[in-house]
C-alpha cells in the first residue's frame, strides 16, 4: 500500500502548502443540477462543481452542509463518498440513502439550489503498479464508494470485476455505471439466494483460480469483510476497505471519528476522516 496516492492533507503541511492557491481542501457552494430518487431508498445528487475541487481520488469523500429543510435542522455536516467526479463536465456525483435528518434534508434539494461541500477529504484507495486484476465486492451504499475505482481502473487499463450485492434486484444501483466503466459485473441478491457467503466464496475462488486477483476492495458489510480477510490471508491477496464513522470536523481535528484497527499486534485508533476512510483490509476490525 504505497504508490500514486498523493493525498496532500495526510501529511504535515510544508510551508509551500500555505500559499492561497494550493490549499488542497476547498469549501465551496455547488449548484444542484439534479437530485433524483433512483429507487425506494437511494437518491442520486448531481452537483455542478468548480474544477479545483474535482481533483479527487476514488474512496475520498466530501463533507456536506445539509440545508435546514424538511423540518429538520442538521447541525453537523454529513460525510458522503464521491460516487463520481468529472472535471471535464464539471460534475460531482453522490449516491445516498435517506436514513435520518441530514439525508432527509438533502433529498429535498431542488435543481438550482446551492449546497456547501468541503473536500475532497480523506485517504482514498490505492492501486499498486503492476496490478492487473482488481476485485470489488460491495453492498448497499458501499457501491457508491467503490464505483470511482472502476473509473480509475478503466483509465489505467486494468481489469475490474465488481460483485454487487443487494437485498433484491430492484435495489441494485450503480450496476449500469460499473458496466459503462468496463467492469465485469456480477449481481448477487438475497431474494434470489445468490448473496450468501458460500456462493460468494465459490465465485471468488473461481476467479482466483481462473485469472488471478491482485487486490480486493470492499466497503459496507461485516460479512464481506470477514470473507475477504479470510480469502486474502489464504491466498496472500492484499485488500482495502472503506469504513464509516460519525464525523464532526471531517478534516482530522476533533478525533471523534476514530476506528480501532489491528496493527503490529496492537489495537490502535485511526481517524476515518484522515488516515481513512480507506484502511488495510487485514487491519480492519468487525463492528
Amino acid at each position: 500500500m504505497e504508490h500514486s496516492l498523493t493525498n496532500a492533507t495526510a501529511r504535515v503541511p510544508a510551508k509551500s502548502r500555505l500559499k492561497p492557491d494550493t490549499f488542497p481542501i476547498h469549501d465551496v457552494t455547488c449548484t444542484v443540477k439534479s437530485n433524483e430518487q433512483i429507487n425506494g431508498e437511494y437518491y442520486l445528487l448531481i452537483l455542478s462543481a468548480p474544477s479545483e475541487i474535482l481533483d479527487c481520488r476514488p474512496g475520498q469523500f466530501f463533507h456536506l452542509l445539509c440545508p435546514s429543510k424538511g423540518g429538520g435542522n442538521p447541525f453537523f455536516r454529513r460525510p458522503m463518498s464521491i460516487y463520481g467526479y468529472f472535471p471535464a463536465s464539471g460534475e460531482l456525483h453522490f449516491l445516498y440513502k435517506v436514513v435520518g435528518e441530514g439525508t432527509r434534508a438533502m433529498a429535498q434539494l431542488e435543481t438550482g439550489e446551492g449546497l456547501k461541500v468541503l473536500g475532497p477529504l480523506g485517504t482514498g484507495f490505492t492501486i499498486q503498479d503492476g496490478w492487473q486484476n482488481l476485485l470489488v465486492v460491495a453492498r448497499g451504499v458501499g457501491l457508491a464508494t467503490l464505483t470511482p475505482l472502476a473509473q480509475e481502473a478503466l483509465q489505467r487499463g486494468l481489469n475490474l470485476t465488481a460483485i454487487c450485492s443487494a437485498r433484491s434486484p430492484e435495489m441494485l444501483m450503480s450496476v449500469d455505471r460499473f458496466r459503462e466503466l468496463g467492469a465485469n459485473v456480477i449481481l448477487v441478491t438475497d431474494s434470489e439466494g445468490s448473496s450468501g457467503v458460500e456462493n460468494l466464496e465459490r465465485m471468488i475462488e473461481a476467479q482466483i483460480a481462473q485469472s488471478g486477483i491482485d487486490a480486493f476492495y470492499t466497503c459496507g458489510s461485516n460479512r464481506l469483510l470477514k470473507l475477504l480477510q479470510r480469502l486474502g490471508a489464504q491466498h496472500g491477496i492484499p485488500g482495502e476497505i472503506a469504513l464509516e464513522q460519525q464525523m464532526a470536523c471531517g478534516i482530522g481535528m476533533c478525533q471523534c471519528c476514530v476506528r480501532s484497527l489491528r496493527r503490529g499486534g496492537k489495537i490502535i485508533h485511526e481517524r476515518v476522516c484522515k488516515e481513512g476512510p480507506v484502511f488495510d483490509l487485514q487491519e480492519a476490525m468487525e463492528w
Binding site: A8, T9, V12, P13, A14, K15, R17, L18, K19, P20, F23, P24, I25, H26, D27, L65, N73, P74, F75, F76, R77, L118, Q245, Q246, A248, C249, G250, I251, G252, M253, C254, Q255, C256, V258, R259, H269, K274
Partner: protein, 314 residues
C-alpha cells in the same frame, strides 16, 4: 485602518481570533493560511498516552453538539518531539494546552512543554481528575489555587487557566486562578450534558455524558466571561458558541480581550479568517479606531452592582 491587535499580558496577537483547544490542529492548514490567526492553540496533551473514550464521541443536540472525546493523547514526549516543531513554520504565537490527573503530573508536563516555540501554556483544569474524586480542579477555588500555584513554580511561560462552566463559583474560581499565578483566563470549556436515543434507549455518547459546545453554550460562557472580567485584573479570553461577528463583539464588549472559536469551525472551517475580516469591518462601520476601545465597554452602569456577582437565576 482599524487596529485589531491585542495584548494578553506579554503575548501579542495580531488579532483577537484564535481556535479553541481540541477543535484545531495543523490539519486546518489544508483549508486556509494559518498565519492569518491571532494565535494557535493545540489540543490538550496529557503526560502519558491515553486512548480516549469509546465511540460515538459526538452527537448533535438542537443546534449544538455534545462531545466526549476523552483527550486521546500520544503523551508529552511525542508532543514535544513531533507536534511543536510543526508549528515552527507559522508566525502566530503557539499556545499549548495541557492537563493531568494530579498536581504533580500537571507540574511535570508543564515543565516538559516549556520549550522554545511555545508562547504560553493553556492549563485545562476543566477535566475530571483523580485527586478530587472525579471533580475538575476548576470546579472549586481551593483546587484551582493549588494547581495554578504548582504550575507557576515550574515555568516562566505565561499560564492561561481554562475554566469550567460546571461550577456555581465562577468569580471565586477566577480570583483563585489569578492568585495562583494565572496570566489570563480562558472562559470556558464545555458544560456536562447528556442525550439519549429514544429508539434504542441508549445514551448518544459512548461515555454516557459529554460536554455541550456551540451556540447553546454562548449565553452561559458569555455570562462567565463577564463575571471573570469583573473579578480579575488579568485578561479574559472568551470561548463558547462563537459563530458570528456579533458573537465576537458581544464577548469583547463583555470584557474579553480575545476569543477562541471551537465548534463553529466544524461546520464552517473558514469561519476564523472570515470573523477576522468581519470584525475589522464591524469596527470600521461603528467608527472604532482600535478593538481595544470596544473591550469591556459594556454599559452596565445602570444595573445595581450587587447583581453583578449574582450566582443564580431567575
Amino acid at each position: 485602518m482599524v487596529d485589531i491587535a491585542v495584548k494578553l499580558g506579554s503575548v501579542e496577537l495580531k488579532n483577537p481570533i484564535m481556535p479553541a483547544s481540541g477543535t484545531f490542529s495543523e490539519d486546518l492548514a489544508g483549508v486556509f493560511d494559518l498565519d492569518l490567526l491571532g494565535a494557535h492553540v493545540t489540543k490538550t496533551v496529557t503526560p502519558e498516552k491515553r486512548i480516549g473514550n469509546p465511540t460515538p464521541r459526538v452527537c448533535e443536540v438542537q443546534g449544538s453538539m455534545l462531545n466526549s472525546i476523552g483527550i486521546p493523547s500520544k503523551g508529552a514526549s511525542h508532543f514535544v518531539r513531533e507536534i511543536i516543531p510543526v508549528y515552527e513554520i507559522f508566525s502566530p504565537p503557539l499556545i499549548v494546552s495541557i492537563s493531568a490527573n494530579t498536581i504533580d503530573e500537571f507540574a511535570r508536563i508543564c515543565e516538559k512543554v516549556s520549550v522554545p516555540g511555545v508562547a504560553a501554556i493553556e492549563v485545562n483544569i476543566s477535566c475530571p481528575n483523580i485527586e478530587e474524586d472525579g471533580k475538575a480542579f476548576a470546579m472549586r477555588p481551593s483546587t484551582t489555587l493549588r494547581v495554578m500555584k504548582g504550575l507557576r513554580e515550574v515555568t516562566d511561560l505565561p499560564l492561561w487557566a481554562k475554566l469550567t462552566p460546571n461550577t456555581g463559583e465562577t468569580p471565586d474560581v477566577a480570583r483563585a486562578a489569578e492568585s495562583g499565578g494565572a496570566d489570563a483566563l480562558v472562559v470556558s470549556n464545555t458544560l456536562l450534558s447528556m442525550a439519549i436515543d429514544v429508539k434504542t434507549r441508549r445514551p448518544k455518547l459512548g461515555n454516557l455524558m459529554g460536554g455541550l459546545s456551540g451556540p447553546a453554550l454562548k449565553p452561559i460562557a458569555l455570562r462567565m466571561a463577564y463575571q471573570c472580567a469583573k473579578a480579575v485584573d488579568i485578561p479574559v479570553i472568551g470561548c463558547g458558541g462563537i459563530a458570528t461577528v456579533e458573537d465576537v463583539v458581544e464577548y469583547l464588549i463583555a470584557g474579553a480581550s480575545a476569543v477562541q472559536v471551537g465548534t463553529a469551525t466544524f461546520t464552517n472551517p473558514m469561519v476564523m479568517p472570515h470573523l477576522i475580516e468581519e470584525l475589522r469591518a464591524w469596527l470600521f462601520a461603528e467608527k472604532f479606531q482600535s478593538v481595544n476601545d470596544l473591550i469591556g465597554s459594556v454599559r452596565d452602569d445602570e444595573a445595581a452592582d450587587s447583581v453583578v456577582f449574582m450566582e443564580a437565576a431567575p
